[in-house]
């Protein structure tokens, strides 16, 4: 509550007031915040829905959750073909989708950096995305 005391006294929102004082977020940060909030909410809802289908057993699953508390969690994904009707696979998608806000935010930062000719910003964001793609494609290191 204390946070917004000064800006509210001036009759405006915290963001507007701090922006006027030169301490507010730039357009890039605001855009990333919006992306994070919206996609975060979507991913949360997706996780509740898909995770719920798996844990309640409404969808058949090649790997029921009860087995997870008895032994190794799961074979590598290549061991069985992915199926859109499998509860386990869909719940896994729900978990992996949590990365979506981060990926979209990084892509947006990279695009902004390229447009604004901020090479270090664009380079760092693109390299992190590249590491992600390498980890996605090159996870064979773990097998």
């Amino acid at each position: 509550m204390k946070n917004d005391a000064a800006p509210r006294a001036a009759g405006c929102s915290a963001t507007t007031a701090t922006s006027e004082l030169g301490a507010g977020p730039d357009a890039l940060s605001l855009r990333c915040a919006a992306i994070g909030a919206r996609l975060g909410a979507v991913c949360g809802a997706l996780l509740i829905f898909l995770g719920g289908l798996y844990l309640t057993g409404l969808l058949p699953s090649r790997q029921p959750w009860r087995e997870s508390f008895r032994g190794l969690p799961g074979a590598p994904p290549e061991a069985a073909a992915f199926s859109w009707g499998d509860g386990h696979d869909l719940a896994l998608i729900g978990l992996l989708a949590l990365q979506l806000p981060v990926i979209v935010c990084l892509a947006f930062v990279a695009a902004h950096g390229i447009r604004a000719r901020q090479r270090s910003l664009a380079g760092a964001a693109l390299l992190i995305l590249l590491i992600g793609v390498t980890a996605l494609r090159g996870g064979a290191l773990c097998r």
Partner: protein, 292 residues
């Protein structure tokens, strides 16, 4: 307990699931009040108390760290506390070494990982006990080329003024993130416990900016690591779904309960818990027979 489980019709494994959700709600509440990340509490506590393999606990630890960071990221960016420009180089270094750490974790024997986790947790405990954060920015002289400085400003309501900061010792600071990334990848511990002291004490960034930017670094770093654990077959929805949902609920409850909290006593409790979990994990790794 088994009779109770049968009466409820969910079986003994169902109780584990509910207990995991409940434990994660508590971890979320305590983490907010103690000012630590969820991942650093999740791995030692769930790894010690639940019959879940360490690989699955480590993988879920990363998911928990990512979920906690996602909850706070938008608000921190809007308040201009979290700096994208400061977080990206740190996250880049941490990601490279984190992917290496995750790959290494699957190559090391289970007992070595258990002992290593114990040592890492005890090290984090020592860090929590010894490190005293600096509130304001470091205002000493800056050497070198100022054009490449990463700087920012935010509105500090307690002082009712704009606080300007500039990150110093960037090379040293960003190189330290290599070690942070390696440990995060190896043990799935998140990285807030190390990000904040590096930003604050090494790079001279105000503590509020350090904490907020750390959430961005965690989000950017854990994303590639999750793919490594996925390929290693360690990502389990049965553990991940209740853990992430529990942490979300706990974090939100923790924020609401924050006004009545006693951060010092909660922090002491967290340190005691981590100490116990660290010693236990180390002894298990060393093969001490009486450790279950």
């Amino acid at each position: 307990m088994p009779e109770l489980a049968q009466m409820a019709g969910i079986g003994p494994d169902g109780w584990w699931l509910l207990a995991l959700f409940g434990a994660c709600v508590l971890i979320g509440i305590v983490a907010v009040q103690a000012g630590v990340g969820g991942g650093v509490l999740f791995v030692p506590i769930v790894g010690g108390l639940f019959p879940v393999p360490l690989e699955a606990v480590r993988a879920t630890g990363l998911l928990v760290a990512l979920a906690s960071a996602l909850v706070s990221m938008p608000a921190l960016l809007r308040m201009n506390m979290a700096s994208l420009r400061l977080s990206l180089p740190a996250a880049l270094v941490a990601s490279v070494f984190g992917v290496g750490g995750a790959a290494l974790s699957f190559a090391l024997p289970a007992r070595a990982m258990q002992a290593g986790l114990g040592i890492a947790i005890l090290g984090i405990c020592a860090l929590f006990v010894r490190v005293r954060p600096r509130e304001g920015p470091d205002v000493g002289p800056v050497r070198g080329d100022r054009r490449r400085d990463i700087s920012g400003a935010y509105w500090e309501p307690s002082l009712r003024e704009r606080v300007e900061w500039t990150a110093r010792r960037a090379r040293l600071g960003f190189s330290l993130f290599s070690g942070v990334g390696l440990i995060a990848g190896l043990f799935g511990l998140g990285a807030g416990w190390a990000n904040v002291p590096i930003f604050n004490l090494v790079m001279g960034v105000p503590i509020k900016v350090a904490v907020a930017t750390s959430a961005l670094v965690i989000a950017f770093t854990t994303s590639p690591l999750i793919w490594m654990y996925y390929h290693g077959g360690a990502l389990s929805p049965a553990v991940g779904v209740p853990a992430v949902l529990g942490i979300w609920v706990g974090t939100r409850l923790g924020v609401r309960l924050l006004s009545g909290a006693r951060p010092k006593s909660v922090r002491r409790m967290v340190i005691a818990l981590l100490l116990l979990a660290g010693v236990r994990s180390l002894l298990r790794g060393l093969g001490v027979a009486w450790i279950p």
